[in-house]
């Protein structure tokens, strides 16, 4: 049986690992501390993240550095309209055995890596996107009637370009809901850009030093789920979730005006789990309302569907979720 000392040791290790990954990413990826923190929270909660940003902002570099820092397998899938599901999940190929007999053998696709980067996922066809869907949700792949489990840790980080929509297949709401967080990469400031220039145009290419490995990460993921959360805090998270629905009595005016559909219960699951990881990161074994507040926007902003009025008024989902946060008190 796990003792309190063991839990404390694991918690200290969690914080050390988190800080290590954050510092390693900081060596390669300049600025955007909140984005990095949310990305790591998502990873240690075993969630999948949709990273949105203009081209050239370092999205791919960020994900790759994460996998390198914790010494995990990494795979990148560049999504295009002709990308087939088998290219993602893997397929059976005919191999000739030593006795000359030919048999089908399953060749694993990139989805079986610990960290999968689905670059520009909105360029893949819905059929291929659905291949990601099963893997993300079920953590398994079924090919030719045979189910293949995906080893943990497993996280899919999909990127998409919000500007260029020509020839893309926007992710349906059901698939968006599978993402734990939706993170936005913003254009860095001048100072950060200057730092990026200095790092990327010199002769020294910074690289992350790998540590820990998959077993350690699995232990930390299990630890996150052991963190306690009180009933009032849980109810606070659920009230936030309900307030995103325009027909809920606690919905603020902006939600009634701009939201067509509110967030699903998966949103509350993401909030609670991320709050637990954040609490552990802050040295606590219980999640607090402040933790809930800090993770609400990335957990809910892709789960609410705005109406045409919001598009007319140029209102984004993150702003609506911020209004929800301001209207609900613990």
């Amino acid at each position: 049986m796990t003792s309190t000392t063991s839990i404390e040791t694991q918690a200290a290790l969690f914080r050390e690992c988190f800080d290590h990954v954050r510092s390693e990413i900081g060596r390669v990826f300049v600025g955007q501390d909140e984005l990095v923190e949310h990305l790591l929270l998502c990873f240690f909660c075993q969630g999948h993240a949709l990273v949105e940003g203009a081209p050239g902002l370092g999205k791919t570099l960020l994900i790759r550095t994460l996998s390198q820092a914790v010494d995990l397998t990494f795979a990148r899938v560049q999504c295009t309209p002709d990308l087939m599901p088998g290219d993602v999940t893997g397929t059976n190929v005919i191999l000739e055995g030593t006795a000359g007999a030919r048999e089908f053998s399953f060749q694993r696709g990139p989805i079986f890596a610990n960290v999968v980067l689905a670059d520009e996922i909105n360029r893949a066809t819905p059929r291929t996107q659905a291949a990601f869907l099963e893997a993300m949700q079920e953590r398994q792949v079924t090919v030719f009637g045979v189910t293949h489990a995906i080893e943990e840790p497993f996280s899919v980080f999909a990127t998409q370009n919000p500007v260029e929509m020509e020839g893309t297949y926007p992710l349906p709401e059901a698939q968006l809901d599978r993402f734990f967080f939706k993170l936005s990469v913003r254009l860095p400031g001048v100072d950060d850009l200057a730092e990026i220039m200095a790092r990327t145009t010199g002769d020294m290419q910074p690289a992350a030093s790998p540590r820990f490995g998959a077993p350690m990460v699995r232990t930390m993921m299990h630890l996150v789920r052991q963190v306690r959360i009180a009933q009032p805090t849980t109810r606070f998270a659920l009230q936030l979730l309900r307030a995103t629905h325009p027909d809920a009595p606690e919905a603020p005016a902006s939600v009634r005006k701009y939201v067509r559909y509110g967030a699903s219960p998966r949103g509350a699951q993401a909030i609670v789990l991320a709050a637990k990881a954040l609490a552990l990161l802050n040295g606590r074994y219980h999640a607090a309302a402040d933790d809930v507040r800090r993770v609400t926007v990335p957990a809910l902003n892709h789960r609410i569907i705005l109406n045409f009025q919001a598009e007319m008024d140029r209102v984004d989902a993150a702003g609506v979720v911020s209004d929800v946060l301001g209207s609900i008190v613990e």
């Binding site: 309190t4 839990i7 306690r228 009180a230 606590r284």
Partner: protein, 337 residues
């Protein structure tokens, strides 16, 4: 809060005078008791749960929900719950609840308490004012009399007390003594009835209804109604009108040259030259208990009628009507038989 509201309600009840004065403080006491009971009931009914208290502690101390989570983890044996409880204990150790959660009133308690106090003081003032009008020994009416302004003696020489009460024109100095006491000596008719020594507003003697009492007319600073047989406290009495409970006329005292008179009315009486047991002029007999000019019953009937008219015409303040009626009931001829 409930106590303040009850106190306020009690003060309003008493101040408005919607209940009989004798019952006012009883009603106020009942209201206070009900308020206290309501406060206790609300306190019991709205007792917060332990989780709510823990959440309040967390908010006050900024403990990041540590206490409320620990409350839920108490009794659990898993290591994480143990750590949660241990950390909460460490965070709350050394905290003195008495200093942290000092006593504080609710938002509206202070203004309510002030209002309740003001209403209570007002009620007390009204009650004491009423006590000035009516005390146990004698019913008194406020200033402001009719032209009567004259003493009614046991012999019934003068005008109705009710008429004196009912007037709206203040007439200082008139004294109305109730009948019922032994016949009082009547002041000398020929004596100066001006009472000028008292107030300087003495009505001429010919204004009086009863000629033999004219000399007794005097006006003091107040008018009083006095129950029969009781000691008169009025100061405007004359030798004719003042009769003590022992039947001793104060006119006799007035004869002594002013001893015992402290008010202008009495001084007026003294100046009128009232002589104990004597009639001081005209054809009136100079006896201590000379015959009256008319019967007490007849005089009572006249005065009572005037009082009734005054009551019906609304010239008597509402809160004094009861006194007038009781007074006339008290001096009714058949009352003392």
């Amino acid at each position: 809060m409930a106590m303040s509201v009850a106190l306020l309600a009690a003060g309003v009840v008493v101040a408005l005078g919607r209940v009989p004065r004798d019952l006012a403080w009883f009603v106020a006491g009942v209201a206070l008791a009900l308020g206290a009971a309501a406060g206790v009931w609300l306190g019991i009914r709205r007792t917060p749960s332990l989780a709510a208290v823990a959440a309040a502690v967390d908010r006050r101390l900024g403990l990041q929900n540590a206490t409320v989570t620990a409350m839920e983890c108490v009794g659990a044996v898993d290591p994480v719950s143990t750590l949660v409880v241990r950390n909460a204990n460490a965070l709350t150790e050394g905290i003195a609840p008495a200093t942290l959660f000092s006593f504080s009133l609710l938002r509206y308690t202070k203004p309510l308490a002030v209002a309740a106090l003001a209403m209570t003081v007002l009620a007390a003032m009204r009650t004491s004012e009423a006590g000035a009008w009516s005390n146990r020994d004698g019913m008194r009416v406020p200033t402001g009399t009719t032209d009567a302004g004259k003493s009614i003696t046991s012999g019934g020489e003068q005008k109705s007390a009710a008429a004196a009460v009912a007037t709206t024109e203040p007439r200082p100095g008139s004294n109305i003594a109730a009948p019922g006491s032994p016949p009082a000596p009547v002041a000398d008719r020929s004596a100066p009835a001006d009472g000028s020594a008292a107030s300087g507003v003495q009505r001429p003697a010919q204004d009086s209804v009863a000629p033999r009492a004219e000399g007794a007319l005097a006006r003091g600073s107040t008018e009083r109604l006095e129950r029969p047989g009781e000691a008169s406290l009025g100061d405007g009495a004359t030798g004719a009108g003042r009769a003590g409970s022992d039947g001793r006329s104060r006119a006799g005292a007035a004869r002594d040259g002013g001893r015992g008179g402290s008010t202008p009315g009495e001084a007026g009486a003294r100046s009128a030259g009232g002589v104990r047991g004597q009639r001081t002029g005209g054809d009136l007999p100079l006896t201590a208990s000379g015959p009256a000019s008319e019967s007490y019953a007849h005089r009572y009937e006249l005065a009572a009628r005037q009082a009734e008219e005054a009551l019906n015409e609304g010239r008597v303040p509402p809160h004094l009507r009861g006194y007038v009626r009781r007074y006339f009931n008290g001096i009714r001829p058949d009352h003392h038989r």
